[in-house]
């Protein structure tokens, strides 16, 4: 059964889904969605792909899914024996992994995405970075990274002793922010810094990121 991803190069959520597919060595068809042409807001897209009008959308036979973190989870479980194992099978280890997956979704992503919006995207769209907002969100990020630092002192990866979705979900937003001055906050914390370098250099992620330069 063919796998398909409707998405956009550069969309962090699209890249999150692609990272999982590449980690699992899965073949899939990438169907580009033209965001500037508002393709994702067309009646057809809303009715058939994602009623929230967002990318990515994933297909596996008759199954159609939106929300990148639901897509990665499905892929990790449906293809458990292929490529990198992205989930823990033991229920207790799996529960800990899910905790840190929620930390990314609830805390890391909203904070870092906001910084990325101010520093990276606003200038791209001809808008001015609001430095007060940057300062505010850096202040939120610092204690969060202190928790990450402690966690990574006790555990090789966030979700446990091996790389899992708990780490993978961070990649798109992490990649974007490491190209900005916010990188200094990560560099100041040795375990966080080592973890970030480690996961950003994974071949599957490098493959996803290279789509940006094509």
């Amino acid at each position: 059964m063919a796998l398909k991803v409707h998405g956009t190069v550069g969309s962090p959520a699209t890249f999150r889904a692609l990272a999982a597919l590449y980690e699992k060595d899965l073949d899939f068809e990438f169907i580009p969605v033209n965001l500037s042409a508002k393709e994702h807001k067309s009646l057809q897209f809303l009715a058939h792909n994602n009623p929230f009008g967002q990318v990515p959308v994933f297909e596996h036979g008759d199954l159609k899914l939106f929300e990148s973190r639901a897509i990665t989870k499905y892929v990790a479980e449906a293809f458990a024996d292929k490529g990198t194992s992205l989930i823990h099978k033991d229920p207790k280890k799996s529960a800990i992994q899910t905790v840190w997956t929620e930390v990314e979704a609830q805390k890391f992503d909203p904070t870092v995405a906001k910084l990325g919006w101010e520093i990276v995207f606003k200038p791209m769209f001809g808008m001015t970075t609001d430095e007060a907002v940057v300062a505010e969100f850096e202040k939120k990020l610092e204690p969060m990274l202190d928790v990450y630092e402690k966690r990574l002192t006790e555990s090789k990866y966030l979700g446990g002793d091996s790389f899992t979705l708990a780490d993978l979900h961070h990649l798109p937003t992490l990649h974007g922010i490491m190209g900005t001055k916010v990188k200094r906050l990560f560099d100041a914390r040795p375990h966080v810094s080592a973890w970030a370098s480690d996961i950003l250099s994974r071949p599957a992620w490098v493959k996803v990121a290279s789509m940006l330069t094509k």
């Binding site: 929230f52 939106f66 229920p91 929620e102 609830q106």
Partner: protein, 218 residues
């Protein structure tokens, strides 16, 4: 009677704590609710931080495992006790589970942010004698309306968000919606939409949720 091994730390009024409580009650899992005095910053003290390093509620313990993040705790409970209490909270096969995960993520990414801001601004800020931010309220009401339009459409062809059965995806919406419908003047956002209103009426009158509301009002 032996003390239940499951412990939930935090006040029932906390939306995240109540999310875990309703899940335990739906699954008929006995638990002990351990109070955390947040006014006295108990959640920021070293003993608590050991359980929840971000210093938030809830924290959760079962046997020798300590968890936090309410949606992670709910998934754990639903998966550990698939045959207890309400069946199918997290699906009985991978395809159903994927749909539940999808709507759980939609709750987390689309519904939770604006509804949390509104809950804080309209319910908790006045209680804490903090000034309300009218612009923020307006902005988030507009966001929430868009999300509820999607739900209105979805619930026109599906009894519950992920399908024909009540699941974690619906359950996750209970805490914020309860506040908005019962404690603010924004109930209309939900009740003026026919399908959303029908869905809210069904999920909010489930015995487990009614019990949680009793705990909140105690």
């Amino acid at each position: 009677m032996a003390t239940p091994p499951v412990k939930v730390y935090g006040p029932p009024l906390s939306t995240a704590v109540s999310r875990v409580l309703v899940c335990l009650l739906e699954k008929d899992v006995p638990f002990q609710l351990v109070p955390v005095n947040m006014a006295k910053m108990e959640h920021k003290k070293p003993d608590y931080i050991k359980m929840q390093p971000f210093g938030q509620v809830p924290a959760f313990q079962d046997d020798d495992i300590t968890l936090f993040e309410s949606r992670a705790i709910c998934r754990y409970i639903a998966e550990k006790y698939p045959n207890k209490g309400t069946a199918g909270l997290f699906g009985t096969n991978p395809l159903v589970k994927a749909s539940i995960d999808q709507w759980l993520e939609a709750e987390s990414q689309s519904f939770n942010p604006p509804s949390s801001v509104l809950t804080f601004q309209l319910v908790f800020a006045p209680l804490m004698k903090l000034k309300q931010d009218e612009a923020l309220i307006k902005q988030n009401e507009a966001k929430l309306e868009k999300v509820l339009d999607v739900y209105e459409n979805r619930l026109g062809s599906s009894r519950y968000l992920a399908g024909d059965e009540f699941t974690l995806a619906d359950l996750s919406h209970l805490p914020n919606t309860q506040f908005l419908v019962e404690k603010t003047d924004k109930a209309e956002l939900f009740t003026s939409r026919k399908n959303v209103g029908r869905w809210w009426s069904e999920i909010s009158t489930r015995p487990a949720w009614k019990k949680v509301v009793e705990m909140q009002n105690a």
